[in-house]
Symmetry: C2
Subunit: 185 residues, 2 copies
């Protein structure tokens, strides 16, 4: 019943009780690895998780800002998360618009195609630099926490390392493909 987004939210709430607004910021930042969502999808999903008994909320009244709902994971939610996390999964082919464009480069102007690839090389290099910065901070934090595998940092670290590998590989491919286009005439 619960979607991937639902479990993503459940894990974030398990890490720390928080509001829908907090969750929506996390899932829109560029450091949100491998899943994203807008607030318009998050609020209804939180309602579903709550009616499934996976989370509860308490209203915190504020005077200067709007009141807010802080969500907390329940025992049932934690149990469901643990089961889902290790359930078998087929590898899913990913979608990437740049690669669809690339497949059409045999029809395109080589100089313009090379420029597009150079632009993406730069974008992925920037993303990589961002991740490398977080890596240092995260490793530090993990060190101080005694390298424990049962703390949120561990999950974040594993996915961050995948993000680093992904961006590095993508940047290198852009560089190679751009050179191919530039050499082509």
């Amino acid at each position: 019943m619960t979607s991937t987004l639902g479990y993503a939210l459940l894990n974030l709430i398990a890490c720390e009780p928080q509001t829908g607004y907090d969750l929506s910021r996390t899932l829109q930042e560029r450091i949100s690895f491998f899943w994203q969502a807008k607030h318009s999808q998050i609020y209804p999903e939180l309602a579903k998780l709550e009616s499934a008994g996976f989370i509860t909320h308490e209203v915190v009244r504020q005077t200067d800002k709007p009141d807010k709902k802080i969500y907390t994971i329940t025992d049932a939610g934690l149990a469901a998360l643990r089961v889902w996390a290790v359930a078998p999964l087929e590898i899913a082919p990913s979608r990437d618009e740049l690669l669809v464009k690339t497949a059409a480069f045999w029809q395109a102007d080589p100089a313009a195609a090379a420029a597009l690839l150079r632009d993406h090389e730069r974008q992925h290099a920037e993303q990589l630099a961002l991740y490398e910065g977080i890596r240092a901070a995260l490793e530090d934090e993990w060190e101080r926490a005694g390298r424990r595998h049962d703390l949120p940092w561990f999950g974040n670290y594993l996915t961050l390392m995948r993000g680093i590998g992904y961006e590095r590989e993508y940047r290198d491919w852009c560089r190679w493909a751009a050179a191919m286009m530039e050499a082509g005439d």
Copy 2:
């Protein structure tokens, strides 16, 4: 107006005139890099492309099999494809359910999590082997065609190389992450 799927279809038809059925098989195979679709999405999309004037079809009557519609790209379609292919594009964060699960591994049973990662390591290794096989064939074909950049092979080759890099990096990460989980206690 035209979606990414529309342009993906347009490029495939530009490579070779074909039917909706042919397209649906291509976009469901595991060698279809970086975009997929079911036939239920393809047939309506072809109708849109045709009403936009980007493709036309001729009906081929068959006696032993059902009649079929062979779609061909028009000059307007080719022009639209060439413009779209090099139009600027922001990098889009990718979605990957395994990584969402991984983020929750701090809550999961380490042995079960390691097993899941080992399974994906195997799946990505298989995909990589498949791509490496195609690579040899494609390079051969391209060699014989005089290494021209204006043939469909070129686009296929560029995307294939990205597929190879992607799968290799993913396999290596799975191996590393599995070792992390197995070492953890």
